[in-house]
Symmetry: C2
Amino acid sequence: MQTKRLPRAVREQQMLDAAVRVFSKRGFHAANMDEIAELSGVSKPMVYAYHGTKDELFLATLRRECSRLIEHIIALADASLPPDQQLWRGLKGFFEFVGAHRDGWSVLYRQARSLEAFSAEVTDMRRNIIQVIAHRLDVALQLEGRQVRPEDLAAQALSLVGASESLADWLADHPEEDPGRTATRLMNAIWMGAEQLLQGKTWKPQTP
Amino acid sequence: MQTKRLPRAVREQQMLDAAVRVFSKRGFHAANMDEIAELSGVSKPMVYAYHGTKDELFLATLRRECSRLIEHIIALADASLPPDQQLWRGLKGFFEFVGAHRDGWSVLYRQARSLEAFSAEVTDMRRNIIQVIAHRLDVALQLEGRQVRPEDLAAQALSLVGASESLADWLADHPEEDPGRTATRLMNAIWMGAEQLLQGKTWKPQTP
DNA sequence: ACGTAACGTTACGCGCGAGTAAGTTCAATT
DNA sequence: AATTGAACTTACTCGCGCGTAACGTTACGT
């Protein structure tokens, strides 16, 4: 290959790009630094020079992918929209991101959550999302004059997130599937509920 | 320690018990065979003699925990019950199992799913469960004279499983929580749906 | 045009843990 | 009580992969 020398900032990003791919393909432990280095078009000590240890490199990739995901979602799910529209847009944004960044998703979840050293990081992020969802649900409920126990709110939000992750996994393995379609399916599952489905009621996006 | 010598069958089970604990505590890679051996009250070569390589040992523990889980669930979710009761009992069985076998659950999911070498195994199991759920849902729909596209059925089942896993994770970290209560919360989330919740409608078990 | 600092390399140290060879002790069978 | 084989141990080998020391090279400011 033998490409040009590059400024640090650029090389750092290339390394993160490489890291995402390798970590997602091999898993944290099986991934080795030489492969990541090679994929960044550079040799191993450079990776250590720019990103420290393997753990630190992993954390860096994790954080980058994570913030990209969050940004993409919050840009879409405007809190002033009606609840189902908020949910719909948020989900659509989420699935679009997963569809477009398969391996980023994999690094975030498959890997990080199962590793003692990193689970705290991703658990925090997850808790934040869940809290936001629970809060918005709470607002919607209060507008209707309802009151629900906090644990039940949390359970609802947790279910939603779990279901989303599950469909996201599936989406990551099905390139041909449209993210919007997946989001719609999830709306039917979580917004309408199984009972409604049995009665033939389905949810449809108002504005396609 | 220096306990008595034990027949192979017994020792094998002790090894699996130890393996579940260590794999769940440390993760597959970080777990080392010496620790598992020690926890089984025996030295490393015995583990190799009885269970082969580390991979094979992991697979053995995975399979044992897995079949225990499945058996426990199908024993409860009788197909002749009405749909919501099937779901309710299946979920209750599932959460009871998770509550009683925390580390078994961890080995099954956190670890196995993120490891290339084992993901196939657990994915197969998962696919089976999803298919069963989708099928029973289909039966229920046909009794109502409805028809739903297979992918939508699958998505509904997938959401349910994802939400269950999510709550199971939460339950595994909250010893004080009653599994039945968690199951009820999930029924509210997935059976009633968020829209119903907003309207103040909740699901309650008929027979406590 | 030349010094220097950032970019980059080759080649190794070293610990850890999977897996094994060779030998020992106990308990059941004859 | 001798035998035999299953249960169990100690004490290694060996490769892999993280992390680094020591050493080149190119761009860029002056």
